[in-house]
C-alpha cells in the first residue's frame, strides 16, 4: 500500500473535500504526474461515498478545444459525440477532473475552467445546444510553484484548497539500496486500484460524517479572519478556510465548530494567524544571524512516517514499506501541514503571462489573417482560406435533406452554400522574434550599449515578440569556451533582464554564438507548425572572438596559440547566418579601441546594418557608417 495512505493530514484533507462541495477544487504545487494520479485515485474513492453518483475521472490538458470539451453537432444518423461537459453526463455521473499542469492548459480549457470551477450553474449555448445544469464536479490541478506567474489569478482564485508536494532533492545522493527501494515503490501496482487505497473504516467514517450537522458560533467563525491580512479582503480564501474548518469538525463528528478546528484548518493550509506572523517577523529581524545558521537544516519536510520508523538500510522483507521519496509535507497529526510555504504564491509572483490571457487573441497584423497560430476554435468564414474542412462539412450536412430533396438518382453529392464555410480560429502566432547576441567581453563600462538596445526591447514588447538571447563570454557561463542560449516567451520574463545585467567573463566564443544563432533561426523558420514570420537579429560585439569553433564544440583548447582562428571562425559562421531571408540583422558597434574595423567586417559578413554605440561621453568615431 502506498505511503500516501498513511499520511493522516492528507487523508483528512481529502475527506473534507468529499464532505464539503465548496472545497472540491484543489491545487497542488510541484507534484509529479504520478503523485497527482495517486491523489486522484484517493479522491475518487472518497467522493464515491458522498457524491451519490458514480465518480468518473477525466483529464484536461494543453490540446483541448471548445468542440472537444463542449461538443458540436452530431453527424446525421449517428449518436451525438460524448462531450466532456453536458447535462446528460452531469445527470449520470460525478466528474473528477485532473489538470496535470495548469500553466500549459489550452486557452479553451482555461476559459472552461473559469466558467466551471466553483460555479453554481453552468450554461451550454453552442451549436444549437441549449442546456443549464448545476455541476457535480471535483477539480484537481497541478502546477509548478515557479510557473504561477504564467497563470491568470482569476483562474487560480477558484481553487479553494492548496497543497505543496515535497519531492526529494534531485542533488541528494542516494545509496544504491535506497535507489532500488525507491524504484520498487514507484513501480505501478494494483495498490492504485481505487478499492484498495483506503480502509473500509475510513470510508464508513466519512459516510457517517456526511450526515453530521455542525453549529457555527459567530465568535469561532471570527477566528477565521485572524488568518487573513488585516485591512484587505480575500473573500474566497476566507470562505475556503471557514469551510475547511467546518468540514474538519464534521469529519471529527463534532456537533459544534471549535477554535481548534479553525487552527487545524489554517495549519493544514500553511496559514499563520496575522498577529503571530507579525511577531515572527519582528523576532526574525532580531535573530537573523542565528537563523542563517539553522537554514542548513531541512525545512518542514516531514515525512509520512515518523523518523524512528524510517529504516536506514534496506530490509528486503519490508521493501514495500520503505519511505517513498514523494510525500506530502506532513508528519504526525499534531504538526502536519499540507502547504509549508505560502499557499498563495500568485500574490507575489512575477507576472509572466500575457495581459488579458483569457481573452480570445487578437491578431496584431490586421492586414492579413495569420494562418500560423495554434488552432483554438472554429469560426464562420467568407473565404476559402484556412478552411476547417470537417466543420464546414458538418455545417452543410444539417441541410442536406432539404437541399438535396430534388436530387435524383442514387449518387447524392453534398450541396454546399457559402454560409457553410468555416475556418480555424487561431491563437497568437509567433509573429516576431528578437534575437540578441551579446558579447559581454566587448562592452566596456564606458559604452552605452543598454541605451542602444532599449528601442529594440521596447519594440519587442509591443510586438509581443519571443526573445532569444545568446550569451557570449558571460561571467556566469557554465563552460567558458561555449556560448549559451536563453529563450523566453517575451521580454518581461525575468531571466532576460537578469542575463542583460551580467558582467564579462574571460573567453569570447563568438563563433559558437553564431553557430547557436544559426541553429535557432533554422528552427524558427523551418521547423514545426508555429513558424515565425520575421526576426530581428541584434549583434553586440567587437568581432574579436578568441575561441575557435572546434574548441567550443569540444569544450577544450588543443593549441597553445590561437591567433586569428577565433575571428575567422566567427566570420565564417556569420556568413552562414546571413542566408536567412526574413531576418533583419543589425550590428551594434561598441567602437573598440583595438581593431576598430572588425565590427564593420563582421557586419559585412552578416549582411547587416551597423549602428554605432556611443561611448558614455557621447563620443562617436568619425565616419562611422549606418
Amino acid at each position: 500500500m502506498s505511503d500516501l495512505t498513511s499520511n493522516q493530514a492528507l487523508i483528512k484533507s481529502l475527506a473534507c473535500t468529499a464532505l464539503s462541495p465548496g472545497l472540491r477544487s484543489i491545487l497542488v504545487f510541484d507534484a509529479p504526474y504520478s503523485g497527482l494520479q495517486h491523489l486522484a485515485a484517493m479522491l475518487e474513492q472518497l467522493l464515491g461515498v458522498t457524491a451519490g453518483l458514480p465518480v468518473q475521472p477525466y483529464q484536461l490538458g494543453p490540446f483541448e478545444t471548445d468542440d472537444a470539451v463542449w461538443g458540436s453537432v452530431a453527424l446525421p444518423g449517428k449518436a451525438p459525440l460524448l462531450r466532456l461537459f453536458s447535462q446528460e453526463r452531469n445527470a449520470r455521473e460525478f466528474q473528477l477532473i485532473t489538470i496535470p499542469d495548469l500553466a500549459i492548459l489550452s486557452q479553451a480549457a482555461a476559459r472552461t475552467c473559469t466558467m466551471l470551477v466553483g460555479a453554481e450553474v453552468v450554461h451550454l449555448e453552442r451549436h444549437e445546444q441549449h442546456q443549464i445544469w448545476k455541476p457535480r464536479q471535483c477539480w484537481l490541478a497541478g502546477c509548478t510553484r515557479a510557473d504561477v506567474g504564467k497563470i491568470s489569478p482569476h483562474l487560480l482564485d477558484r481553487f479553494a484548497l492548496r497543497m505543496h508536494w515535497h519531492d526529494i532533492d534531485p542533488t541528494e545522493q542516494f545509496s544504491h539500496q535506497k535507489r532500488v527501494a525507491n524504484l520498487l515503490a514507484h513501480v505501478p501496482h494494483d495498490s492504485l486500484a481505487t478499492d484498495k487505497l483506503l480502509s473500509p473504516t475510513m470510508l464508513r467514517q466519512i459516510e457517517v460524517a456526511s450526515h453530521q450537522r455542525v453549529e457555527m458560533p459567530p465568535a469561532i467563525l471570527a477566528r477565521v479572519m485572524d488568518y487573513l491580512p488585516h485591512g484587505q479582503s480575500y473573500p474566497r480564501r476566507e470562505i475556503a478556510l471557514a469551510r475547511f474548518a467546518l468540514a474538519l469538525a464534521q469529519f471529527a463528528g463534532s456537533p459544534d465548530l471549535h477554535e481548534e478546528h479553525v487552527e487545524e484548518a489554517a495549519r493544514l493550509l500553511g496559514m499563520t494567524a496575522q498577529a503571530d506572523a507579525e511577531q515572527e517577523d519582528a523576532s526574525e529581524e532580531e535573530e537573523e544571524p542565528f537563523k542563517r545558521e539553522t537554514q542548513e537544516e531541512p525545512p518542514e519536510q516531514l515525512s509520512a512516517q515518523p523518523e524512528s520508523a524510517r529504516p536506514q538500510t534496506l530490509d528486503t522483507s519490508q521493501t514495500q514499506q520503505v519511505n517513498m521519496p514523494e510525500t506530502i509535507s506532513s508528519p504526525d497529526i499534531e504538526t502536519g501541514t499540507l502547504c509549508s510555504e505560502n499557499p498563495y504564491p500568485e500574490d507575489t509572483a512575477f507576472v509572466e503571462r500575457e495581459a488579458a490571457s483569457l481573452q480570445l487573441s487578437i491578431t496584431p497584423y490586421s492586414y492579413s489573417r495569420s494562418t500560423h497560430g495554434p488552432i483554438i476554435g472554429i469560426e464562420e468564414s467568407e473565404t476559402l482560406s484556412d478552411l476547417a474542412i470537417v466543420s464546414t462539412v458538418m455545417s452543410a450536412l444539417k441541410f442536406q435533406k432539404i437541399r438535396c430533396s430534388t436530387q435524383q438518382g442514387k449518387e447524392r453529392k453534398i450541396a454546399f452554400e457559402p454560409t457553410d464555410l468555416r475556418r480555424h480560429r487561431r491563437g497568437s502566432a509567433l509573429e516576431h522574434v528578437l534575437m540578441i547576441l551579446l558579447d559581454y567581453t566587448s562592452v566596456r563600462d564606458n559604452v552605452n550599449w543598454q541605451d542602444a538596445l532599449l528601442p529594440y526591447l521596447s519594440q519587442a514588447y509591443a510586438d509581443r515578440a519571443e526573445i532569444v538571447l545568446i550569451k557570449v563570454g558571460a561571467e556566469d557561463a557554465v563552460h567558458e569556451l561555449q556560448a549559451e542560449i536563453v529563450n523566453a516567451r517575451n521580454i518581461i520574463v525575468p531571466s532576460i533582464g537578469e542575463a542583460l545585467e551580467l558582467g564579462s567573463g574571460k573567453a569570447s566564443p563568438l563563433a559558437h554564438g553564431f553557430n547557436l544563432a544559426r541553429a535557432r533561426l533554422r528552427h524558427l523558420f523551418q521547423h514545426g507548425r508555429t513558424l515565425a514570420r520575421a526576426a530581428t537579429f541584434l549583434v553586440i560585439s567587437d568581432g574579436r572572438g578568441n575561441v575557435p569553433r572546434e574548441a567550443s564544440l569540444k569544450n577544450s583548447i588543443q593549441k597553445n596559440i590561437i591567433g586569428q582562428e577565433g575571428v575567422e571562425d566567427a566570420l565564417a559562421e556569420a556568413v552562414r547566418v546571413s542566408i536567412f531571408q526574413r531576418v533583419e540583422t543589425i550590428v551594434l558597434n561598441p567602437q573598440p579601441l583595438d581593431y576598430p574595423e572588425l565590427p564593420e567586417i563582421l557586419a559585412q559578413a552578416l549582411g547587416a546594418k551597423i549602428q554605432i554605440i556611443p561611448h558614455a561621453d557621447g563620443h562617436e568615431k568619425a565616419g562611422a557608417a549606418m
Binding site: L124, M225, Y234
Partner: protein, 322 residues
C-alpha cells in the same frame, strides 16, 4: 430549453437577494435598471470573489422568478441569434429555435465575464441593445424580433478591458470591491456558510429556516421594486435638476447628450425607488458615479475606470453642496 422543473430546482440553489451582505451600490444599480429599463443596462466590474454573479442571479431570481438569460463566454452565434432545431432539420423539417437574445425579451440578459466574450458576439449584442431589434438573417432565415431587455455584464478588469463602444452601451457602471471591514466580512462568512447548510438541508428534504425567511423577504422586496417601477413615470424632473444633469455631463466632458439623459433617468428612477414624487439634487448626487464613471475620457483608455474623492468632490461642487 431547460424544462421548468429543472429551472425551478436550479432557482432553489440561488442565494436570496435580501440575504446578500453589502454591495449596496451594485444592488442600487440593478434596481434602477429594472425600474427604468431605458437606462439600458449595468456593467459590474470588480475583482474575483466579490459576489458579482451571485447578486445578478439573485436579483433575476427575485424579480423575474427565473434565471437570467445567460450568454456564456463560449457561446456560438447560432445560439445567440437563433437558428434551426438541428434534430428536426436532419429529418427535413424546418423548426425554428429561439436564440438567447430573443429569449431575453422582457427579461434580464446576463453575460458573465463579458470582457472574455468573443468580439463577434459582442458586436451582435451591441447592435440589438442599441436598436431594440433582433434581425435574423442566417441559414435561410429572415426574421425580425423586438428585444427589450436589461443587459447586465460582469467582469474582472484584471483580465482585460472592454471596448469603449460596448462600455458606453451600459447605462450604469458599478465598481465592486471586496469589503475590507471586519463586521461585514464576518457577516459574509456567516451568510455563505448558512447558505451551504441550507442547501444541504433542502437536499435532505428538510425545511431550511434560512431559506424560508430569505425567500419571504425577497417576496416583500420584489413588491417594493415592482411598485417603484409603476411610480417611475409619475416622478417629476425639476428644471433645476435637469440643469444640473447637463452641467455635470459638461463638467466631466462626457461626449454627446446620452450622459445628460441617463443622469436624468437614473435620478427619476431613484426618486421612484424612495417613493419621492420629484427627482432632486439628492437623488442626482447618489446616482452620478453610476452614470459618469465609465464615460470619463480616461475610462476609455484604462481597463478600470477611476472614480475617487476628487470626482466626488467635483460632483458636490457642481450640485452646490460645497
Amino acid at each position: 430549453m431547460a424544462d421548468d422543473q429543472d429551472e425551478q430546482e436550479l432557482l432553489r440553489t440561488i442565494l436570496p437577494y435580501t440575504s446578500i451582505v453589502g454591495q449596496e451600490k451594485l444592488k442600487l444599480a440593478l434596481e434602477l435598471a429594472y425600474i427604468a429599463p431605458r437606462i439600458g443596462g449595468v456593467l459590474i466590474s470588480g475583482k474575483r470573489g466579490t459576489a458579482k454573479s451571485t447578486t445578478v442571479r439573485a436579483f433575476a431570481s427575485m424579480m423575474y422568478k427565473r434565471l437570467p438569460v445567460t450568454i456564456p463566454i463560449n457561446a456560438t452565434e447560432d445560439r445567440v441569434v437563433g437558428g434551426w432545431d438541428v434534430k428536426q432539420l436532419l429529418e427535413s423539417a424546418l423548426v425554428e429555435q429561439r436564440g438567447l437574445l430573443e429569449e431575453a425579451h422582457e427579461n434580464l440578459l446576463y453575460v458573465d465575464e463579458v470582457n472574455l466574450l468573443d468580439d463577434h458576439i459582442v458586436n451582435i449584442i451591441l447592435d440589438v441593445i442599441s436598436t431594440g431589434k433582433l434581425i435574423i438573417q442566417r441559414e435561410g432565415r429572415n426574421a425580425q424580433r423586438e428585444v427589450k431587455t436589461i443587459f447586465v455584464g460582469t467582469m474582472n478588469p484584471e483580465e482585460g478591458g472592454l471596448r469603449p463602444q460596448l462600455q458606453d452601451r451600459f447605462g450604469l457602471m458599478v465598481n465592486v470591491e471586496a469589503d475590507a471591514g471586519y463586521e461585514n466580512r464576518l457577516r459574509i462568512l456567516e451568510t455563505v456558510l448558512a447558505f451551504d447548510r441550507a442547501l444541504q438541508e433542502e437536499e435532505d428534504k428538510q425545511t431550511s429556516p434560512f431559506l424560508v425567511q430569505g425567500r419571504e423577504a425577497d417576496e416583500r422586496y420584489q413588491v417594493e421594486i415592482a411598485d417603484a417601477q409603476q411610480r417611475f413615470y409619475g416622478v417629476k424632473l425639476e428644471t433645476e435638476t435637469a440643469d444640473k444633469c447637463v452641467k455635470l455631463a459638461q463638467a466631466f466632458q462626457i461626449e454627446g447628450h446620452r450622459g445628460d439623459y441617463l443622469l436624468a433617468l437614473a435620478s427619476c428612477a431613484y426618486a421612484a425607488r424612495l417613493n419621492d414624487s420629484r427627482a432632486t439634487f439628492e437623488h442626482l448626487k447618489s446616482v452620478a458615479e453610476l452614470v459618469l464613471r465609465h464615460r470619463l475620457l480616461i475610462a476609455h483608455q484604462l481597463s478600470n475606470a477611476v472614480w475617487g474623492e476628487e470626482e466626488e468632490q467635483r460632483v458636490l461642487e457642481i450640485l452646490g453642496y460645497v
